[in-house]
C-alpha cells in the first residue's frame, strides 16, 4: 500500500502541488507579510536597482522604483483572486448550460401558462409601452391554466430550444479569439477587477459547456438515468441530482487547464496595459516594464519564472486528476 501511495505521487506532481501551495499562501498572506515596501509606493531614490544592492529591496526595483518582491507577492494575489473565481464561475455556468443543452436537447417543453406568465413578467420588468399587454398576457396564462384544470387535462406545452440557444451563444463567442474580444470589450468598458472577472467568465464558459454537453449526451443514455426516470422522479431532479454530477466529471481535469489559460490571458492583458488599472500589481505588468529597461534581467527573469512555474504546475496537476486513487 505504501508503495502504491508513493507511486501515485511522483516527484513532479508533488513539486507542482508545493509550488501552487506557495503561490496560494503568498496570495493569502500578502496583506500581513512583513514586506519592507508596498507595491503601489514607488521608491524614486532607487530606480531599476538589481537584486541585493539597494537597501531593503531584496529582489531589486523596476524602472518606476517599485519593489519587485512586493509586486511578485501582490501579483500572486491578483492572479489567484482573478483566475480562480473566473475558472470556478465559468465551470459552473458551463456545467449548467451545457448540461441542460445535453440533457434536454431542443425537446424540452414548458407549459404554455408559464410561457405567458414569463412573457408578462419580462414585459413588466423592461417597462415596455402599454402595460395593459402585460396584464393581458398574465391573464391569458392564468386563463389557460384554469381551463386545463377545469377540463382535467395536462397543460399544453411549447418547446424550448435549449440546445440551439446554448450552442449558438457558445459558437458566437468562439468566433473571435478570446484575446481580441476581451481587449475590444475591456477597452470600451474601462474595467474594475469585478467587471474583468465577469468578462473573463463570460468569455470562458463555452469550453466547459461543450465538455459537459458531450459527456451529458452519453450520460443520459446510461441505465441509472433511465432507472431514475422509471422511478418517477421529475425530469429536473433527474438532471440535477443524478445526471449532472456524472456529466461534470471532465471538468475536474479541465479545471487546472482553464486556470492556466485564464492566468495566461490575465497576464497578457496586463502586459498590454488593457483591463486592470495600472495600480494593481500583476506579473504581466512587471514583465512589460522590461521593455523600458532591456538590461534589467531580474525584471524579466523573476516574474517569468513565477508565471512559467505556475502554468506548468497547473498542467502537471491536470494530468493526474484522481489524487485520491
Amino acid at each position: 500500500m505504501a508503495r502504491l501511495g508513493s507511486a501515485s505521487h511522483p516527484w513532479p506532481h508533488r513539486a507542482a502541488c508545493g509550488w501552487l501551495a506557495l503561490v496560494a499562501l503568498a496570495a493569502l498572506l500578502a496583506g500581513v507579510l512583513p514586506l519592507p515596501y508596498l507595491p503601489g509606493v514607488p521608491d524614486l531614490a532607487h530606480v531599476a536597482q538589481p537584486p541585493g544592492t539597494a537597501s531593503g529591496h531584496w529582489l531589486g526595483t523596476d524602472p518606476q522604483g517599485r519593489d519587485v518582491l512586493s509586486v511578485l507577492v501582490f501579483g500572486a494575489r491578483t492572479a489567484v483572486l482573478l483566475t480562480l473565481p473566473a475558472a470556478v464561475l465559468s465551470a459552473l455556468l458551463g456545467a449548467l448550460a451545457g448540461g441542460a443543452a445535453g440533457f434536454w436537447g431542443n425537446k424540452a417543453r414548458l407549459p404554455v401558462p408559464y410561457w405567458l406568465l414569463a412573457a408578462s413578467g419580462a414585459w413588466w420588468a423592461l417597462r415596455l409601452p402599454m402595460p395593459g399587454v402585460a396584464l393581458a398576457l398574465a391573464a391569458g396564462g392564468l386563463g389557460v391554466a384554469a381551463l386545463a384544470r377545469l377540463q382535467q387535462r395536462a397543460f399544453p406545452t411549447w418547446p424550448v430550444p435549449i440546445n440551439a440557444v446554448v450552442m449558438g451563444t457558445a459558437t458566437t463567442l468562439d468566433t473571435i479569439p478570446r484575446l481580441i474580444l476581451v481587449v475590444a470589450v475591456a477597452a470600451g468598458a474601462g474595467l474594475s477587477s469585478g467587471a474583468l472577472l465577469g468578462l473573463l467568465t463570460l468569455t470562458a464558459w463555452p469550453h466547459p459547456a461543450r465538455l459537459v454537453r458531450a459527456q451529458m449526451l452519453r450520460t443520459r443514455e446510461l441505465p441509472f438515468v433511465e432507472a431514475a426516470h422509471a422511478a418517477g422522479l421529475p425530469a429536473f431532479r433527474v438532471w440535477f441530482r443524478h445526471a449532472l454530477p456524472h456529466a461534470s466529471q471532465p471538468l475536474r481535469t479541465a479545471m487546472p487547464l482553464s486556470v492556466a489559460g485564464l492566468l495566461g490571458l490575465e497576464s497578457t492583458l496586463s502586459f498590454l496595459g488593457v483591463g486592470l488599472s495600472p495600480e494593481v500589481a500583476s506579473w504581466g505588468r512587471l514583465l512589460g516594464t522590461v521593455r523600458e529597461e532591456p538590461t534589467a534581467w531580474w525584471l524579466f527573469f523573476l516574474p517569468g519564472i513565477c508565471l512559467t512555474f505556475t502554468i506548468i504546475s497547473l498542467i502537471q496537476l491536470s494530468r493526474r486528476p484522481s489524487v485520491s486513487a
Binding site: 473571435i176 475590444a184 477597452a187 488593457v274
Partner: protein
C-alpha cells in the same frame, strides 16, 4: 455539401455581426472617456493670444468633440430617456448611431478613427500590409513544421517522450513570454545581438537597394515569425501526432506492415492522409488565432501592424478601429472556414464523392 458550407458561413457571418454590434453598442454606450481622451491637452494647445482656457471653454470643446464623434444622436433604435418620468421606451427612428454605423458598414465604410481622424479602412489596410505577410508566413511554417515533427514523432523514436512533454508545456505558456525571451536573448546588445529589436518603419524608408531591403525585411520579421510559429506549433503537432498514432493502430496499417512496408512508408502513404482531417479543422482556428497572436508579437517587437494598431486603439478608446478589428478578425475566421472546407474536399475523396 455546398449547402452545408453556405449554412456554416452564414452562421459565422451572423455571429461576427452580432459580436461587432455588441462591441459597438457597449463601447458607444459611454463616449465620455473617449471624448476626454480625444480632447487636446491644455499643454498641447497653441497659445493663441495667451488666453487661458476657462472651464466653460473646455466644456464647449468637449461638447464639440462629442458632436464630432457622433454622440449627439441616440445610440440605438429605442432608448429610455432618463429624465422622462414614466420611464417609457422611446422610438428613435433611423436617426441613431447604430443605424448610421450599420449603413456605412454595408457601404464598406468603417468610419473614421477618433484618434487620428483618418478612415479606419485605410488604417487597417496599411496595417494589414505588414500583418498579412507576418501571419501568413507563420501559418505556413507552423503547419509544415507540425507535419514534419508529427511524422517523426509517430514513428516512435527514443526522444518522443521529452519532446511531447516540452510541447505540452510550451502550449500553455503565454505568447508574450516566448516573444520576450526571444527578444531579450537574440535582439539584446547585452546578450546576442543578432536581430534588430525595433525600427522597422525607419529601416524601409531608407534609400537602399532591393537586396538590402529584402534582408532588412527578413531580419525584422524573423523573430516575430519564430515566436508565432513556436506558439502555434505545439497544438498542431500534438493533435496530428495523436491522430497518426491512432491510425497506426488500425487494421489497414497492420496490413500495410504485413506487406513488408517500412514504418515510415506506412506513415507517409497510408496513415497520414487519414490523420490529416482533424488538423484541417484546426487550420480554421489557426488564422484568427494568429491575428490575436499578432497583437502581442507586434507590441513586443514594435511592428506597425494590425496588432499594435488594435492595442493602441484599446488604450486610447479608439472605438471605430476596435470594431473594425473585430470585424476583420471575423472575416479571417470566415476565410479560414472556407479554406478548411476546400482542404477537406482535397484530402478526403469520400467527401468529394458525396458532394
Amino acid at each position: 455539401m455546398s449547402w452545408l458550407v453556405l449554412w456554416r458561413l452564414a452562421r459565422t457571418g451572423l455571429a461576427v455581426w452580432a459580436l461587432a454590434s455588441g462591441v459597438f453598442l457597449l463601447s458607444h454606450h459611454d463616449l465620455g472617456v473617449a471624448a476626454r481622451l480625444a480632447a487636446p491637452d491644455a499643454a498641447d494647445l497653441p497659445l493663441s493670444g495667451g488666453a487661458p482656457t476657462t472651464a466653460a471653454q473646455q466644456q464647449a470643446t468637449i461638447l464639440a468633440i462629442r458632436q464630432r464623434l457622433g454622440a449627439g444622436l441616440p445610440l440605438f433604435y429605442v432608448s429610455r430617456p432618463p429624465a422622462a418620468h414614466p420611464r417609457q421606451w422611446h422610438w428613435n427612428g433611423r436617426r441613431n448611431q447604430y443605424h448610421r454605423w450599420a449603413t456605412a458598414l454595408l457601404h464598406g465604410n468603417l468610419g473614421t478613427s477618433f484618434r487620428t481622424g483618418r478612415a479606419v479602412t485605410a488604417q487597417l489596410g496599411q496595417a494589414l500590409a505588414l500583418t498579412l505577410p507576418l501571419t501568413g508566413t507563420a501559418a505556413v511554417l507552423a503547419v509544415l513544421a507540425a507535419i514534419f515533427l508529427a511524422r517523426r514523432l509517430a514513428a516512435g523514436p527514443w526522444w518522443q517522450r521529452p519532446v511531447r512533454a516540452a510541447l505540452a508545456a510550451l502550449h500553455a505558456l503565454p505568447l508574450f513570454l516566448v516573444a520576450l525571451v526571444l527578444l531579450l536573448l537574440l535582439a539584446n546588445p547585452e546578450a546576442l545581438d543578432w536581430f534588430p529589436a525595433y525600427g522597422f518603419d525607419q529601416a524601409l524608408e531608407a534609400d537602399s537597394g532591393f537586396w538590402t531591403r529584402v534582408t532588412t525585411y527578413a531580419l525584422h520579421l524573423a523573430l516575430p515569425v519564430t515566436a508565432l510559429v513556436i506558439t502555434a506549433l505545439p497544438e498542431l503537432t500534438l493533435q496530428l501526432d495523436a491522430a497518426l498514432r491512432h491510425e497506426l493502430r488500425t487494421d489497414y496499417a497492420t496490413t500495410a506492415r504485413a506487406k513488408g512496408l517500412a514504418e515510415k512508408a506506412v506513415i507517409r502513404h497510408h496513415a497520414f492522409r487519414n490523420a490529416l482531417l482533424p488538423t484541417l479543422t484546426q487550420v480554421a482556428e489557426l488564422l484568427p488565432a494568429l491575428v490575436a497572436g499578432a497583437v502581442v508579437v507586434e507590441v513586443v517587437f514594435a511592428l506597425p501592424g494590425m496588432g499594435s494598431l488594435l492595442a493602441t486603439a484599446a488604450a486610447a478608446r479608439d472605438y471605430p478601429v476596435l470594431v473594425g478589428g473585430v470585424l476583420l478578425t471575423g472575416t479571417a475566421r470566415l476565410l479560414a472556414l472556407l479554406l478548411a472546407d476546400l482542404l477537406y474536399f482535397w484530402a478526403d475523396p469520400r467527401i468529394r464523392w458525396h458532394a
